[in-house]
């Protein structure tokens, strides 16, 4: 009897472990596979425009008529800055963490300007927060970089989205977005 109870308990714990592993691990694998498919050979911390015919396959709230740009963020080696000069009209920048959670969002109304820079940094760990340790460039100086966001994980995704009311604007919008820079800060 005790032997059977032991196996029942062990099976329940094993089942729970499989459940959590499936929920926490598999979606990330599938998503990373999709991003690799769509991003091709794009490197970390570089900005590129998505092909219109595939962008809704990653971002279901966009259509093939929109212009969508991506930057595969990697802050493991330090801060990353994203600088953009947006065209006139509606746009939104959304930053996702590696787990898919929305970390930051800004749009044309909130930005008030078509030109902006956002600095992305890895979030400080609990020990760093307790010790109150600052980064080198934060000691004794204030750098005007625009906005600042922290990623709780080393990787993430920045998505620039511009809906087009007039398809004739596509070339102008794509040209404007092509000057977007996403790069590791020196």
């Amino acid at each position: 009897m005790m032997g059977r109870m032991f196996w029942l308990f062990t099976a329940a714990v094993f089942g729970l472990a499989v459940h959590l592993a499936t929920v926490l691990y598999f979606p990330g694998l599938t998503f990373q596979h999709r991003v690799k498919q769509l991003a091709g050979d794009a490197k970390d911390n570089s900005f590129f425009l998505m092909k219109p015919e595939v962008q809704a396959g990653l971002m279901p709230t966009a259509t093939a008529l929109d212009v969508v740009g991506l930057c595969l963020l990697n802050v493991s080696a330090g801060k990353v800055s994203l600088s953009a000069r947006m065209p006139r009209g509606q746009w939104a920048l959304t930053i996702y963490g590696a787990s898919g959670e929305q970390v930051y969002n800004i749009n044309d109304v909130e930005a008030g300007s078509g030109e902006f820079t956002i600095e992305l940094a890895p979030a400080k760990g609990l020990i760093e927060q307790l010790r109150g340790r600052s980064d080198k460039d934060e000691v004794g100086q204030i750098t005007n970089v625009g906005w600042h966001a922290e990623l709780s994980e080393k990787r993430g995704l920045a998505v620039l989205w511009v809906p087009l009311a007039d398809p004739a604007r596509r070339a102008d919008v794509e040209t404007a977005l092509s000057s977007t820079r996403c790069e590791k800060k020196p």
Partner: protein, 182 residues
Amino acid sequence: MKSYFGTAMLVAGAVAGYVTALQALGHAGTGPAPGNANWTQGIVNPKDAYAVYALGHFRNDGLLPPPHATLYFTRLADDEGNGLRGNCSYEVSGPAPQARWWFVSAGAPAAPATAVAFTAGNAVLAGDDTLKLSISRRPSPGNWLAAPDVGAMQVTLVMNELYIQSKNYKLVLPALKRLACE
């Protein structure tokens, strides 16, 4: 006998854990739209303790979750409960979406990249600020979305940045009626 029992229990535990995880991922992140259960809303509430399931739902399909400022609705059936088909014509009607940007798209279920879209930029609204949109293979006067060449069809409504965000505001989603089938 005892070793078989232990092995069988472990296998059963693993299968149960895997199946419940897939079911949870399949259902999380979606629910009936407020005020119109014919539409299904895809949503991630970051304050939800089980948000990891909702995030997993979208990521498991290789999709980014809807941004917080965007409302994302889908449906697979018309108002009568009949499954949507690409060879039928439909009318979407209701109040014009009160959002800065919106679109209605139609495509194969779970394949958003293949969908064709009708956006706010193309819409002609009636004087009483209502929207009527035909989804059909044959061209139709007024707002028209060419139905894709698919069997089963999914219709999606996306609204970005709602104009009205007061507590008393009630979102009214459009009706979708089947007109005819070829």
